[in-house]
Subunit: 263 residues, 2 copies
């Protein structure tokens, strides 16, 4: 079993409720469980209660920081239809709700309609010609960086103490132990790298809401990521992520609204 | 009172519940209430129960078509904090839930952090030098087009039977009776125009989920809109909208996931 599957396990306790355990192995700055890691528990649980196999669109509102330890996930089946089904999941640490997710599921294998792709995958050299984006800047509190490999032609500017001034990064991403991404884990991978605003010299950013569109089942282990922020207004910014597989297929698109720390 | 305010009125019945009436005055194809119109009822109700004045990020999952007539909105205050508060609203027609919204509110007047804008407002001539985007193609079932003015240098290609082949449109938008947009109505205006995929010769598209980021309080009646679809995959597509006020301020950004009719 891959570490992702072991570390996102949910156990049903009946009536659409689940228990689980947040590990300290997928944490961001300050040892707080990564936002993408929190989403995973909600999607594992919704995958158990909804009839369709693939999350198609996931919206996640972050309410409080997650806390390592036992958690509860309560699900509700909101609607099931032929083409789509929708559910809600609430992740709680103790009696405090940490994350609320509403997600619509579909069968991406049955999506046979028209295709027209007007963007392109990031133009990156092969992963084995790339280096760790963190350079020598790995921090012991950020354990998610040990579990998710990120590679680019050269380390990110911010990781070398020289932010580029441009909030745009491109890199390869995969689970470090070689676990293939599936449609559910794409919703976590889009939130597994450092925010692009670090290239503006910012030190951190807090996600308020994350929406993920899953577009296709990935066909390669390594995925090419493009991360962009275009509008930072009054300390609020969006961050857009695209993930493409190595066959040139767009597999996920995400957007989050995040806040810089209050001045 | 402007027609928008009258037609989105909600009446509290206690315990965070509201009754309202869906009119036939803001409908899209087939006389189905427009998706942006449905969101409005949820935000009117959440505005009554949350302490912050402005929707900051709104995610809306569309479950079924709305039906003209009496509706119910049930709200839940999920969390209230100093900087943000979050609530959920469920809009039901009869006993069928039509729309589920989760929204986080803030005080945009207090957003005093860093600003860096890397995109530009659409480059449009003034509204009084523009024409109705529908040309002569107004349909009697699409009543929202009577309530929301849309103007561009020339009518949209699809409206003249000549789709441009490029799913990108830019135009001015405002309430037809001159009501100024506020932060809550921005979340409806982003979904009040025809989808950009009409420029690909498609006839319709169904929204599954709509996320709106409200960035600033609008300072002009007319807003400049940019609507873009870049990825149509297996009949699923995103649609991105930006709204800018006439002072050159980005006021809202939205993305929806939508489906073309099943083949």
């Amino acid at each position: 079993m891959h570490e992702w599957d072991a570390d996102t396990r949910v156990d049903p306790t009946g009536d659409g409720r689940f228990t689980a355990h947040l590990t300290d192995r997928w944490s961001g700055p300050g040892g707080r469980p990564n936002g993408g890691y929190l989403v995973a528990f909600c999607l594992r649980a919704l995958g158990e209660v909804l009839p369709h196999p693939d999350p198609l669109v996931v919206s996640a509102h972050y309410l409080r920081p997650g806390v390592v330890g036992p958690v509860r996930v309560d699900t509700e089946v909101v609607r099931t239809g032929r083409r789509l089904s929708t559910g809600e999941a609430r992740l709680s640490c103790g009696d405090r709700e940490v994350l609320r997710v509403v997600a619509s599921y579909a069968d991406l294998g049955a999506a046979t309609g028209r295709t027209l792709v007007l963007g392109e995958a990031p133009d990156l050299p092969p992963p084995d010609e790339c280096v760790d984006v963190h350079g020598g800047a790995r921090r012991s509190d950020i354990t998610v960086a040990d579990r998710v490999d990120l590679r680019a032609p050269k380390p990110h500017g911010w990781a070398q103490g020289r932010p580029t001034g441009t909030p745009h990064t491109e890199f390869w991403i995969r689970f470090a132990d070689g676990r293939p991404a599936d449609t559910a884990s794409l919703a976590s991978l889009v939130d597994s790298a450092a925010p692009a605003v670090l290239e503006l010299g910012e030190m951190d950013s807090t996600t308020v809401e994350l929406t993920v569109h899953v577009r296709a089942r990935p066909l390669s282990e390594w995925l090419a990521a493009r991360v962009t922020t275009r509008y930072l207004v009054g300390g609020h910014h969006e961050e857009d992520v695209e993930l493409w597989d190595a066959t040139g297929q767009l597999v996920a698109q995400s957007r989050q609204l995040a806040l810089l720390p209050a001045g």
